[in-house]
Amino acid sequence: MDHDIDRQLMLRVRDGDEAAFGTLIDRYRVRAVNTAYRYLGNDILAEDVAQEAFVRLYETRYRFDPSLAFSPWFYRILSNLCLDHLRADGRRYTRLTLVSDDADGLGQQIDGTSTPQEQLEREELSRQVQAALLRLPDRQRMALILQHYEGLDYDQIGQVMQCSRGTVDGLLSRARATLRERLGEFLGK
């Protein structure tokens, strides 16, 4: 149902309806920024890339194929921009974030019910998992983000990443095997 709403909104955007474009941004902005953050590891860069993805979405609106779902099409624009940043100078940002204290960053979740000690432990765990995610090879990381956080199925991930279902399966298997190895100390807790 949601996919149909997005598709209808995108068709209106294609006809130049800016109000529909605003609605589409509102529906996807949190997902877009968080996807870019998980991929790039830097909140400022993530917001910039997400904004640029929406601008590109509008600039290329005539190319939208209404027979396809909206989200894979949008994530393809977003993931290509993320990859462009990594190919240019994005890796520098990623490394900086990994060694910095990101207490105000997007990766933190405020939970009013836990004690300060529990909150600290949770933040440390979040940082460790985020660091392990950032160390995955680019395509494995993107496949995992799209599957786990964005809920895309293998066919949709294949559309975003321009590869087959089998390749998506292989990327996800390797990503999980690596994370199992690197996060072994936290498993079973």
Binding site: D26, V30, R38, Q51, Q109, R165, L183
Partner: protein, 163 residues
């Protein structure tokens, strides 16, 4: 043992509900009787739970307005600025590879056109030409004034000048 190996290769897709029903049933049956594979599966479930620890961040309400302003600014840019931005974007790897292949193809074609004949006579410095590829001669005996490593001489250049 082979069943364990093939099952583990399918666990990620099983976890995601992406296996055909018949295959998923085989995996489920194997997990019910194999403790080692069941433990492996639990680890993968644990990895997925750990991924949930990377929290969701808030996005400022000004985000949508910022996008619309960026779009407006983009529209008012002169064509040359838009062109410069388009050219400054990193090229995809396939495009770089295609350019390299075309460049190498053109280079080798040019070498054949400019020097189609090849006479395998010994060079004046005594070295023996082994082969010629892409307009370069490769020598079996290194001239005395070379330090070592590869020694190539551009076809058609003067011989024995030590350069």
């Amino acid at each position: 043992m082979d069943t364990c190996k093939s099952t583990r290769q399918q666990l990620s897709a099983y976890l995601d509900g992406e296996l055909p029903a018949v295959v998923a049933a085989d995996v489920r049956a194997h997990l019910a009787r194999c403790e080692a594979c069941a433990a492996h599966y639990d680890d993968l479930l644990g990895v997925d739970h750990l991924l949930d620890e990377v929290g969701v961040g808030e996005v400022d309400d000004g985000f949508t307005q910022a996008v619309l302003e960026r779009l407006k600014a983009r529209r008012s840019e002169p064509t040359r600025v838009r062109l410069a931005r388009a050219l400054s974007r990193p090229f995809p790897r396939w495009a770089v590879a295609a350019v390299l292949i075309v460049a190498i193809g053109l280079g080798s074609g040019l070498a054949l056109v400019t020097d189609p004949g090849f006479d395998a006579a010994p060079m004046t410095d005594g070295s023996q030409v082994m082969s010629r590829q892409f307009g370069l001669d490769v020598f079996s005996d290194l001239p005395g004034d070379t330090i070592g490593g590869a020694y190539v001489k551009i076809a058609g250049q003067g011989d024995g000048d030590g350069s």
